[in-house]
């Protein structure tokens, strides 16, 4: 799968009523297995861009094309299902659904999308082992540490094998061991051909060897 981001602009209304341009004419294209790092200070629009790419937010102008589909022109329900099948999103915190246990959190997106395949439980157990949570299959999110929760979020990405993975400061509040687990998992996804777009200040992520770095403050590729 390739991704083509073209002329994305987005502005928000500030509390004083004026418009603030967050993104201005952002564009790039990535091929299968590519890694893109987003650079920029806090408030530079990294999260906004990730939300637009994921289809959660619509741009004021421009387009995001994946699998030959202009995602931002799809109806909301189609965007949701497109996201469920193609885009894995990892946040800094709050990645888990509290009513579900660890296993269910991993396969929930596929279950809601109705795309679960036979043997999904065995696959989940295997992935949990990979991220070091083999003893937590039935644990509830509130029983887990922050690092363990983030590992569950990564396990979810591994489970669904998304062609595109978006990660917004995924290790910002993690200890070294958990950060390494997250990184290892992302590398694995990369090896399988997933495109990875991430925003992180963690030097550990340099080992992902990004193909491109996009500086949002400077407004272009480095």
């Amino acid at each position: 799968m390739n991704i083509e981001v073209k002329g994305i602009s987005k502005s928000f209304e500030s509390p004083d009523g004026s418009r603030v341009d967050v993104l201005k004419d952002v564009g790039f294209s990535l091929k299968k297995g590519a890694v893109l790092k987003l650079n920029g200070a806090s408030g530079s629009g990294k999260s906004t861009l990730l939300n637009i790419i994921s289809g959660l937010l619509l741009p004021d102008s421009g387009s995001v094309k994946m699998k030959g589909i202009e995602v931002n022109s799809l109806k909301e329900s189609r965007r949701d299902s497109f996201r469920a099948e193609n885009i894995g999103y990892i946040f800094q915190t709050f990645n888990l659904l509290s009513p579900f246990n660890v296993m269910e959190n991993i396969y929930a997106p596929s279950a809601f999308a109705g795309t679960l395949k036979p043997g999904f439980k065995e696959k989940t157990v295997k992935i949990l082992k990979e991220v070091g949570l083999e003893d937590h299959e039935k644990s509830m999110p509130f029983h887990l540490s922050v690092g363990q929760r983030q590992r569950v979020a990564v396990a979810r990405v591994l489970f669904t094998e998304y062609p595109l993975i978006l990660a917004d400061e995924p290790t910002a509040s993690l200890d070294r061991v958990s950060s390494e687990t997250v990184l290892k998992s992302l590398l694995k996804c990369h090896d399988k051909g997933s495109i990875i777009i991430f925003a992180s200040h963690d030097p550990l992520f340099d080992s992902l060897n990004p193909d491109m770095i996009f500086d949002l403050e400077k407004g272009g590729l480095l």
């Binding site: 999260s47 906004t48 939300n51 994921s54 959660l56 937010l57 909301e76 329900s77 949701d80 299902s81 497109f82 996201r83 469920a84 099948e85 885009i87 999103y89 946040f91 800094q92 915190t93 709050f94 990645n95 888990l96 659904l97 509290s98 009513p99 579900f100 269910e104 929930a108 997106p109 279950a111 809601f112 999308a113 109705g114 679960l116 979810r156």
Partner: protein, 503 residues
């Protein structure tokens, strides 16, 4: 799988938020318990009334009685009869070809507030529900006998409540509880000879005795009042006794025959009481104790023997030789036309009035329906407040779960699935609330049935669904759906992405 997982997600969410969920369910259940109780009790009252109207289509009572008062004092034995109707009216009705059966009814004493109603053998026989307990050797069709006047037949529920079993003896108190003239008749001891099976009607809550036994007490009271000038409170009775006194002279002469028969009975079975009674009356009432003397008078015994051959018929129709008064007459007519004709005839003549039981009960039921409507409005009001509370809980729950819903959106779970989840949660909450409320309501009615039955004089059917309850179920479930839709709308209007961005 998708819908299965949505349901699973709902169950997980409800489990995860069990505090708010259980409070909502319990609040709806409480409101419904109230609604079920109101429905069942009013239905029980109406059913009891309607059954009675089918049994006795016509009630003839004293002139001046209102229709409602006649029905209330005879069918439900609520309130005391305020006047008397002549026994001659009963005899006339009995002979009337339009009448299938007529039952005299005379009330005087009560036991622990339960009226002792004087009736005849036909009345007990025609109730036709059989006996729970019955004294060996008695003829079930002729329980009341002049030889043992103070026999009592006890309704099933009263027997249960007061432990009035076969062979139990009790004395009645004259007048109802709270009546300023009320006093105990220690000299008249009733013996329970039968306990009726439940007839599922007001009869279950009454004690029956013979009409002559009631008249015996009336005679006693009559003299008692004369001697003391008691302020009995039952002025009608007193006035009528005084008024009829001249006529009574006649009556007394005639009555002596029966008194003698009673005298026999008293001497045989209550000799000590009778002597005591006599002493008591002579001490306290002087001349007026003629009836007591009559009982011990040998002449009268001879006189009585002279009438011995006629004993049975005299007992079955003995009141023409007594004070000749009844509280009311319950009548079974041949057809509705007969009921209507008899009602008109007996209402327009002197000394009596008549009511079509069905019509009057319909009026009472209409009135009860109004009461039910008022109670129903309160119930619905409670339910409305509870549903508003449930809706607030749902909105709070949605607000609390904004972030989670936003996360669901990022995972590709659409608004439709999220809204569906909230909708199912609301429906489950209202449905369980209704189910629990109906169950608690009906089991509470079942548990408190003896208490309710006894206090209201009805035969409550705790597991019947009433119209108000069925309406309530539909209204609540529909309201639940509406709340769910409002919840869905709320989710549709929410900008969940802001939550993600805020993170």
């Amino acid at each position: 799988m998708k819908s299965g997982f949505i349901l699973k997600a709902v169950m997980h969410t409800l489990k995860h938020r069990k505090g708010a969920f259980l409070i909502s369910v319990f609040a709806i259940a409480c409101a419904f318990t109230f609604l079920s109780a109101v429905g069942s009790v009013t239905f029980g009252l109406a059913a009891s009334a309607v059954n009675s109207s089918l049994k006795y289509p016509l009630i003839v009572g004293p002139e001046g009685s209102s229709d409602t008062q006649l029905v209330m004092s005879t069918i439900f034995s609520i309130d005391k009869p305020r006047a008397k109707v002549s026994y001659d009216v009963y005899k006339e009705l009995k002979k009337d070809p339009r009448v299938v059966a007529a039952y005299p009814m005379a009330r005087a004493d009560s036991i622990k507030g339960v009226p002792i109603v004087g009736v005849n053998n036909e009345f007990i026989r025609d109730l036709n529900e059989g006996f729970f307990q019955f004294k060996k050797g008695l003829d079930p069709d002729n329980i009341f006998d002049e030889k043992d006047m103070f026999r009592a037949v006890v309704g099933y529920k009263i027997s249960e409540k007061y432990g009035l079993k076969l062979g139990s003896r009790f004395v009645g108190s004259h007048g109802s509880v709270g009546d300023p003239g009320a006093h105990v008749h220690a000299e008249f001891t009733y013996t329970v000879v039968a306990v009726m099976n439940s007839v599922h009607g007001p009869e279950d809550f009454l004690v029956y005795s013979s009409v002559p036994s009631v008249w015996k007490i009336h005679d006693h009271d009559h003299h008692h009042h004369h001697g003391h000038g008691h302020e009995d409170g039952d002025h009608h009775e007193k006035v009528e006794h005084e008024h009829d006194h001249d006529k009574d002279g006649d009556h007394h002469e005639k009555a002596e025959h029966d008194h003698d028969k009673d005298g026999d009975h008293h001497e045989a079975e209550h000799e000590h009481e009778h002597d005591k009674d006599g002493d008591h009356h002579e001490d306290e009432h002087g001349h007026e104790h003629t009836a007591g003397i009559h009982h011990e008078d040998g002449d009268h015994h001879e006189d009585e023997h002279g009438h011995d051959h006629d004993k049975k018929s005299a007992f079955e129709d003995p009141m023409d030789v007594r004070t000749n008064e009844l509280s009311a007459i319950l009548v079974r007519t041949k057809n509705p036309v007969a009921t209507s004709e008899l009602e008109r005839e007996y209402s327009t003549r002197d000394g009596s009035t008549a009511t079509d039981t069905g019509k009057t009960i319909r009026r009472i039921v209409q009135y009860m329906n109004k009461a039910e409507n008022v109670a129903g409005m309160f119930s619905y009001g409670t339910l409305f407040i509870v549903l508003v509370m449930v809706f607030v809980t749902i909105l709070m729950s949605i607000n609390e779960r904004k972030k989670e819903m936003a996360l669901m959106r990022t995972l590709g779970i659409g608004r439709r699935s999220i809204s569906l989840m909230v909708m199912i949660e609301t429906i489950i909450t209202t449905f369980l609330g209704v189910l629990l409320g109906v169950a608690i309501g009906h089991f509470a009615l079942w548990y408190f049935k003896p208490l309710i039955d006894m206090n209201l004089g009805i035969n409550l059917e705790p597991f019947i669904f009433t119209s108000i309850e069925v309406q309530g179920i539909f209204i609540t479930l529909i309201a639940g759906q509406l709340l769910a839709l409002l919840g869905m709308l709320r989710i549709y209007r929410m900008n969940l992405i802001e939550e993600v961005a805020r993170d």
